[in-house]
Amino acid sequence: MTADAGASSLGASAASDVRTVRLASAVDFAGFRRACRALWAEQIAPERVVWQCADDIEGDLFETPGDDDATSASSPPPVHVPPAFLPLAESAILHRDPERFGLLYRLLWRLQLEPALRGDTLDPDWLRADALSQDVRRDLHKMKAFVRFRPIAEPDGEGAIGAPLHIAWFEPEHHIVEAVAPFFARRFTAMRWAILTPERSIRWDGAALAFGPGARRDEAPPADAGEQLWLTYYRSIFNPARLKLRTLAREMPKRYWKNLPEAELIEPLASSADERSMTMIARGPTDPKRRPATEPQPTPGHPVTPGGERPRSLTALNAALQSCRECPIGEHATQAVGGEGSRQARLMLVGEQPGDQEDLQGRPFVGPAGQLLARALEELAIPRREVYITNAVKHFKFELRGKRRIHKTPAQQEAAACLHWLEREIELVDPGALVALGATAARQLMGTTISVLRERGRWLVRSDGRRVLITLHPSALLRVEPEDKAAAYAAWLKDLRHAAEHFSASGASE
């Protein structure tokens, strides 16, 4: 019988009068609610209703009862359900079980007629609806966990190659694609992505979700290089001591494995886990790996290098620097930073110590102060590669503040321990003159504390006869008040001009 035939059949239909309700889709919750209200209004008992989805059948044989035909002369009481029923029905309706509509309508029907059913949590219909809802929620959860995207380069609407499109293939167990889509839109808002499933596909273009028909597995892109990275990561974080096979099988059921790239690693990793643990036990305890600490203390006048001998070249010197632990700074720095520049430089610039950037890159004067120095050298027409730039102390000394490493001035002892490296650099490069940038460099080069502010812009003479120009460290300029910056820089440039004169004069004499 069709819906219009039943309009006048309130309470009078024969038992054989079966009503067929056809929903727009498997997840048409609004249509289901409408149909339920209409069926209740006509007092059609659940046994007399057959539920169908447009997805399941071909042809248009039946009408869905709408709101309009829901009214009848003697209107039955309005539908009342407990608050928990609606969310339960909303998720249970996504289940694959074709009986779900009938079950939920029967529950609704019985809730109207049997008040005690509200509290009867052990009723089979309640329990079944709960179980359906739980299956759906579990499937939603698994989809959130097991979707794996693969990027492809795809031109956007204007034909330009923009951000890659991430495509994933997933086979959900229930009709959850529409329900889970908002989660992915929130989680990957900035990405363009598409999720293909056998029943439906979703696409997110950065602004709106679009749903399309189902797809085939081979429409999703194959494995790419990024996947190798993921597999390497998965292999590396695997902890043989924490392998729980039963939990693994329960939380990552095998039917998901065929679409999970890492699944192929599980078996080899699992089968080697015990062996790895056993090998470790058989090998016995070992000492923790630490960087070798070198003990020698420098004695004044007899600098000791870790290698024993004094390095014969700048390359050897820079290599030997790396293992220097003559003061505590070296233990915490990323690396030692040696000098850089021409091996026959006529001018050597000596700074204080590497900073954060220098420590990471392993080159002197590449941070903000380095950029200021580069600018000054350029203005003075001194090519950076024709001078030698180094530091008085070779390791970065810092203090951790949160995640930032704040520069700390090296102590006098630490500078003294580093002195032999600088002296050897001076011997090897043999520059005609040096520039001491800042107080630490000045003290290191002159062997005594120098007042930089009093002596700046003047040439002093070292005990070995080399001339040393004293001036500020460029980082001092970074710290002056903004309005004074230009003047401070001009004064500093004026100091350095003396060095430029030496540079060009000695260059002309050669």
Binding site: D120, T121, A241, D274, M280
Partner: protein
């Protein structure tokens, strides 16, 4: 808390947790079985403690937080939790005189002490028994480990009778709940039944 790197007993660990929950209003304590790594300190063990110990500690922790158990009830001072039975079943076996519990009449606090009944099952029972008299068939629909629970409860058409006092109850239950009493080793795994679950997919 990292478990199994030293000789600390489960009783000490749970007492610490109880103090953290009680005195410091901590919301949650986590337990993690120690995993050895190569080239660690010599004082650390090379063999991992059984992972099931971590699981038992979590079960005991839940008993303290949601089931009204006191820490001293779960484990004797200086003692360890049994690895073959869960702490609630162990407690019930040691206190058989308090059972069977009538699911149709007993207060919620006692229902929570029945092995196999979780907080959700108890809430369901309490709600359902207002409108119906619980029968064995109702329990079957509850999705609970019936083997464990049925030995300790009575409903309209079921009484455990003498089986509760039987001396082999502990052994029978342990065997029913965990077919292999110790934690499954990987060698068992490679040779035995769960292999199907791991062979690679086509």
């Amino acid at each position: 808390m990292i478990v199994g790197a030293d000789a600390t007993s489960d009783a000490t660990i749970l007492a610490t947790s109880a103090a953290l929950y009680g005195a410091y209003r901590l919301r949650r304590v986590y337990y993690s079985a120690f995993s050895p790594i190569p080239d660690a300190a010599r004082a650390l063990p090379l063999k991992a403690p059984p992972l099931v110990r971590e699981h038992r500690l979590y079960q005991a922790d839940w008993l303290m937080r949601f089931y009204g158990f006191a820490q001293e009830e779960i484990v004797a001072p200086g003692g360890m939790l049994a690895l073959d039975v869960d702490p609630k079943l162990a407690w019930a076996l040691a206190h058989r005189e308090r059972f069977p519990i009538d699911l149709n009449r007993a207060p919620k606090e006692l229902l929570l002490r029945v092995p196999g009944l979780g907080t959700r099952a108890v809430a369901r029972i309490v709600a359902a028994r207002r409108v119906r008299k619980l029968r064995f068939a109702d329990l079957e629909r509850l999705h609970i480990p019936l083997v464990k629970a049925i030995a300790f409860v009575e409903v309209a058409d079921h009484r455990p009778g003498k089986s509760l006092a039987a001396s082999d109850l502990a052994r029978r239950l342990a065997a029913a709940v965990h077919p292999t009493p110790s934690q499954a080793s990987l060698f068992d795994f490679a040779a035995g039944e769960p292999q199907g679950a791991l062979s690679s997919s086509p």
